[in-house]
Every structure is written in structure tokens, then in C-alpha cells.
């Protein structure tokens, strides 16, 4: 079965951080890059992310496919922004500096290009961190981490169950799909959309019904073992924090604080050097 979450086991300082630390850092980092549109901060984040990638010993070829998806998405999103509102940058930065015209509606302005640069930087700041988090965190440790940062252990356990059963359900989906195809349903692009939707439901119904049975079986098994009786539970994969963990969380926390203070100081989320 393909490994969707692409956890790659290597020996590196980033791998040695606990899952909880990486989760907290990832969240703080992405909130920081979400809050700010300050190009100075946004430009530093991707550089830092690339350095962290180097430290983590994750190679470019490990994440090549995902990065190509990122690139396509980024280009499409930027195109779409431009198509729908070519003057969005001017509205934000409050000035119009025309560079050249494509047509009456589509005028390329410096403000717009600056806004697009910021959008791209935002991606470059966020995506590498997500990839880093996904590739260096063991899925089994993830639930323990969620619980550690204060999520109710029952919900953390739901997440663990989801991660545990995704491959199973995927395999089952595949099996059902093959046997339905053997009976003559058509899922390929040759069929019309409605027919394909119908075909999808012919696969989905057995899948859902068997999953409902599965829910019954698992919950009985858990109930028999007394799940949910205590207020707390321990985790096999949980690890104690080390100084490196605390240090990295503080750094990411400071980053978020910096982004918030910077935004508050400027009085706006946008920074424009020609203003």
C-alpha cells in the first residue's frame, strides 16, 4: 500500500524532536505566516524552512511529487486571483502604479505584482513546514502529541483510529472497486458524469455498510477493554520533552509574537515599500 503521509525515517535532530513539539511549531509557524503580509518577514521564513530541510536530511527527491502539486496549485491560484480582480493589490496598498496594459480590464500594476509576490512567499513559507512536519513525524506518535498539547484523549484517539484505518479502508475500496468493475461498472473518463457518480455509489454503498460493521466491532472491543473509563491515559509512543524541544517551541512562539506585534505596529497587515 502506498504511504500517503510519507513519513520518512532518518536520523536527524528534527526527527529526534517529539511529535508534540513539531505539531506546536508547525501550528505557530503557519499562524505566523497567515497573520502577516509583511514581505520582510515572509521573505525570511522560506529561507529558514529550506535550512531546516537541510538539517532534517529530507531530500528534494523525497518530496518531489508533492512539491509539483504545490507549484501547480500556486500558479493556478495566482492566475485566478489576477483574473477575478486585477486591481486587488491597488485596493490593498491604496495606490496605482501602472506598468503596462493587457486589455482595458487587465492592467498590470506594481501593487498587484507586489501582492502576488507576497502570495507566493506565503506559500513558500507554509508548504515546506507542512512537508517537514508530515515527513518527520511518525503517525503513531501523532495522537500522543495531540493529547500532550491539551486535546482530549478521546478525540486524539479518534485521530489515531483514522490514521490507523485509512490504509485498511483504502484497500477495501480498491477490492470493492475491482469486483464491481468485473461486474461491468465503468469508472473511467469515457462515461458521463452522472454515470460515474452512480458507479461511485455502487462502490461506496458496500464500503460504507462494511465500515459501519467495523465501527460496531471496534467499539465493542474497546468497550470490553474499558476504554474511556479513566480521566487520562498513557501513550506507548509518547516521549518526554528535551531542552531542544522547549527551545524550538520558544523560537516558533517568538516568531508568532513578532508577526503579531509587527502587524499591530504597522496598523495594517500589508507592507509596501513604495507607499
Amino acid at each position: 500500500m502506498i504511504n500517503i503521509f510519507n513519513y520518512i525515517e532518518r536520523q536527524s535532530p528534527i526527527h529526534r524532536l517529539t511529535g508534540a513539539t513539531k505539531l506546536v511549531c508547525f501550528l505557530l509557524w503557519s499562524f505566523a505566516s497567515m497573520v502577516t503580509y509583511d514581505t520582510r518577514i515572509l521573505a525570511v521564513l522560506p529561507v529558514a524552512a529550506v535550512i531546516l530541510f537541510g538539517v532534517s536530511k529530507i531530500r528534494l527527491k523525497d518530496v518531489k511529487f508533492i512539491l509539483s502539486v504545490t507549484a501547480v496549485f500556486m500558479v493556478l491560484n495566482n492566475l485566478l486571483v489576477f483574473l477575478f480582480s486585477p486591481m486587488h493589490g491597488c485596493e490593498i496598498y491604496g495606490s496605482v502604479t501602472e506598468l503596462f496594459r493587457i486589455s482595458a480590464r487587465y492592467v498590470v500594476t506594481r501593487e498587484q505584482l507586489w501582492y502576488h509576490l507576497n502570495l507566493v512567499l506565503k506559500y513558500l513559507a507554509q508548504i515546506p513546514m507542512l512537508l517537514l512536519f508530515v515527513t518527520t513525524t511518525d503517525p503513531s506518535e501523532f495522537a500522543a502529541s495531540l493529547n500532550k498539547i491539551g486535546v482530549n484523549y478521546k478525540i486524539a484517539y479518534s485521530v489515531a483510529l483514522a490514521l490507523r484505518y485509512i490504509p485498511d479502508i483504502q484497500r477495501e475500496y480498491h477490492d470493492i472497486s475491482l469486483s464491481q468493475q468485473a461486474r461491468g461498472i465503468e469508472m473511467s473518463k469515457k462515461e458521463s458524469l452522472v454515470k460515474r457518480l452512480k458507479a461511485a455509489s455502487a462502490i461506496l454503498i458496500p464500503l460504507i455498510l462494511s465500515s459501519m460493521d467495523r465501527i460496531e466491532i471496534i467499539s465493542n472491543a474497546m468497550e470490553l477493554r474499558g476504554f474511556g473509563k479513566g480521566k487520562k491515559r498513557s501513550w506507548y509512543m509518547a516521549r518526554p520533552f528535551t531542552p531542544a524541544d522547549i527551545l524550538s517551541m520558544i523560537i516558533c512562539g517568538l516568531l508568532l509574537v513578532l508577526a503579531i506585534i509587527d502587524t499591530a505596529k504597522m496598523g495594517t497587515r500589508f507592507w509596501y515599500p513604495w507607499a
Partner: protein, 183 residues
């Protein structure tokens, strides 16, 4: 509110896994970029109707966050939250539908479809774009266009898949009162 029982916890886990598999592997591309026609909302609507609002909320949140994390476009918190809200609202709206009793009448189907339509309008027409504006500050027109396409395609797939699932599930359950006690 349904009790947060072991069964609910397991339903959230399996539901999120189903949501993930449906959203990740059974996607049909749509003409608008970054938005594909996916059938997971049919599953989410159905699961919320069976297991209630809390399960719906968490299935939406966890499932959508996992899908986003497995792709390269980053986790779009605004849309993740919108999925959760959809599950929650569906759970509330479908409280009166008792699929577990093996009954899925025409009235139930109508209720399911009207509520899913309203929930989709609320989520993709309001929750997702407004959060997008707050968090990402992208152009309003673009966000509403994306929301519109996502909302319409989700409503269509929910109507087809969700309804079929409800009927099939109710049929598979023994009907309430189908057994009588012998005197």
C-alpha cells in the same frame, strides 16, 4: 446532544478515514482550478445524520485536515472549519431522522436533502469565503466563485450519494417493531 460514547469516538475515527479515502482517491476534476468534484460530503452528511452533530463536526475537521495535509497545497484552515461546520449542522438538522430504526421514509429523504442544501449554502457561501477573507485576504470575487463551485458540486454529490447511502443503510437495518412478542 448524543453522549460522547466509545461508539461515537470510533465513528469519528472511521468516518474521518472514509472521508479521507473518498476525498483523496475518488475525485472528479472540475473546470475551476483548485476545486474538484468530490463525493466525501455525501458520506459526511450521512455519517452526521447517523452519529449526530459532534461526530459530524469532528469527522469534517479531522478528515479535511488530513486530506489537505496529504496534498501539497497546505492546510486551508478556513475550508477545514467549513467542513466541520457542515457536519455539525447536518447532525443537528437530521436529529429527527432515525436511520438506526430501519426507517427512511420520503419525508426523511426530503428533510435530509433540504437540510444538506441549506448547510452547503451556509458553509460554502458564507463560512468558507468569510474565513478566507479574514485569514488570507484574497479577492472577494475569487473566493465566492470558488465557494459557489464547491458548494454546488458538493450539494449535487451529497444529494445523490448521501440519499442513496441513507436508503441503503436503513434497508440493511432491521426495522423497529418488525418483531412482535408472542403471547
Amino acid at each position: 446532544m448524543k453522549k460522547f460514547s466509545v461508539k461515537t469516538i470510533v465513528a469519528i475515527g472511521i468516518g474521518a478515514a472514509l472521508f479521507f479515502v473518498c476525498g483523496r482517491f475518488i475525485a472528479i476534476p472540475s473546470p475551476v482550478p483548485n476545486t474538484s468534484i468530490t463525493i466525501q460530503y455525501g458520506v459526511l452528511g450521512f455519517m452526521s445524520a447517523v452519529f449526530g452533530p459532534v461526530a459530524g463536526l469532528l469527522i469534517g475537521l479531522i478528515g479535511h485536515a488530513l486530506i489537505d495535509a496529504s496534498w501539497g497545497w497546505g492546510v486551508w484552515w478556513s475550508w477545514v472549519i467549513a467542513s466541520g461546520v457542515f457536519g455539525f449542522l447536518m447532525g443537528l438538522a437530521c436529529k429527527k431522522i432515525n436511520l438506526d430504526d430501519g426507517i427512511c421514509s420520503k419525508k426523511d429523504i426530503a428533510r435530509f436533502n433540504i437540510s444538506q442544501l441549506i448547510c452547503h449554502i451556509v458553509c460554502w457561501g458564507a463560512v468558507a469565503p468569510v474565513l478566507d477573507i479574514l485569514i488570507y485576504q484574497e479577492p472577494v470575487e475569487k473566493l465566492f466563485a470558488q465557494g459557489l463551485v464547491a458548494g454546488i458540486s458538493n450539494a449535487v454529490t451529497t444529494a445523490v450519494i448521501g440519499t442513496l447511502l441513507c436508503i441503503a443503510y436503513a434497508k440493511a437495518k432491521p426495522q423497529k417493531g418488525s418483531l412482535t412478542k408472542e403471547e
